[in-house]
Symmetry: C2
Subunit: 196 residues, 2 copies
Amino acid sequence: MPAKTSNAPKSPARSRVLDTATRLFYTEGVHSVGIDRIIAEAGVAKATFYHHFPAKDALVQAYIEEQTRMQREAAEQLEADGPREKLLAVFDHMGRVGGLADFRGCPFINAAAEYPDPAHPVRRSIEDYRTWFRELMRELLTEAGDPDAERTADLLMLIRDGLAVACDLDDPVAPRPLVRDAVLRVIGGARDGAEV
Amino acid sequence: MPAKTSNAPKSPARSRVLDTATRLFYTEGVHSVGIDRIIAEAGVAKATFYHHFPAKDALVQAYIEEQTRMQREAAEQLEADGPREKLLAVFDHMGRVGGLADFRGCPFINAAAEYPDPAHPVRRSIEDYRTWFRELMRELLTEAGDPDAERTADLLMLIRDGLAVACDLDDPVAPRPLVRDAVLRVIGGARDGAEV
DNA sequence: AGCAGACTAGACAGATCTGTCTGGTAGGGT
DNA sequence: ACCCTACCAGACAGATCTGTCTAGTCTGCT
C-alpha cells in the first residue's frame, strides 16, 4: 500500500506531529505535554493522530527513535581523518551543542527519568541508543588501537553522560576544555602540555 | 509558636507526608505521582497536607532538600583518615548505592528533567545540592594538596553524574571498578598496578 | 472552662488528560 | 463511477489532577 514511488515518504501529517512532539517533549518534558497541545501546534486532527499512533506512549517511543536517528546522522556527518580524530570530533560536537541556548540536557536521560520501568518500550529504545553509542566508541577505539576498547568505551560513556548533565545543570561552557583533555587522556593521546 | 521545648520537632503528619513523597517521587517520578496518592499512602487528610505545604511544588522542593540533607548526612558519616581517602569513600559509597536493587538514578538529575525552567525553585534547590557537592570535592582536593582543585572538582562532578546515570540506565555494577580507577587517576593517586 | 491549632473525612469545582466516536471533505487508483 | 485512504473539526466519555471548602474531633495550654 505505501508504494508511492519506491519507498514510504511518511505522511506529512505524521511528520508534523513527530516534529512538534520532538520539539515539545525535549523542551518541556514528556508528561508535561499533552496530546491536545501537540495536535494543536502540529495543526492536525485528533483522529489523524490516533490514526498514525496507537497511543501517546508510541509517540514518545517514536520521539526517542527520532532523536537516535538525528544523533546518528550528526555523528556520521562529522568529518575526521582517523578514528582518534573522529572520537574527539564527537565530543567536541557534544560540547558545542551543550553550549547552545536551547540545550535542555540529554533527551534520553531526561526521558528515562520519566519512565522508571526498565522494561517499558520507551526505556528499551533508550537502551538501543546507548548500545549504539557505546558500540560506536568501542569500534573507533579498536580501530585506533586501544588494547582494552570495551573498558575505555565505558569510560567515554561516563564522560558523555557527565558532560550532558553538566551542560544542562551547571555552567554549559566550563566543562568543554576539561572534557577534551579528559577524552585525550582516556584515549591515550595526551600531550605533555595537556596536564590535567 | 513552634516553641515546644527549644526547636521545632516537625509535626508527625508532615513527616509522614514528606517520607511518603520522598519514596514515591524517587521511585516513580514527580509528575507521575499525584497528591491524592501521597496523602492516601501517608494516611493524612488533604486539608492537613495543604496546611503544611502551600502547593505540590513546595512539597517537591522539600523532597529535593530532604534528599540533599540525606546525602550530606551520608557523606559526613563516611569514615576515612585523610581527604584522599574521604574522596574515594564518597565514590565507593555512590557505587554501592548505585548497585542496590531499588536504585533509580540520581534524584536531582531525575527531578531536573521534569522541571525545565532553570529559574524554578525546585531547580534552585537542585543547584544548591550541586554547589554543596562541588564544594565538598574542592575542599577535600585542596586539603589533599591538589594544585588545581577547582578543575579537578569539575572532573569529579563529571564522573559523579556519569556514574549515577550508568548505574541507572546500564549495568549497575560494571562501572564501579572503572570509576575507582578514574577517580584515583584524577586525584593523582594512581598506583602502577592500576593501569586503565 | 475555653480557646487555638493540628488533625480527619470527604465533597466539590474546575481544569486537563487520554482515547473514542461521529461526520464530513478531498484526492488517487482502478 | 467507485472506493479507499488520509485528513479535518470537534463533541464526548471517563478518569485524574490540583486545590478549596465544610464539618467535626482531639489535645494541650492558659
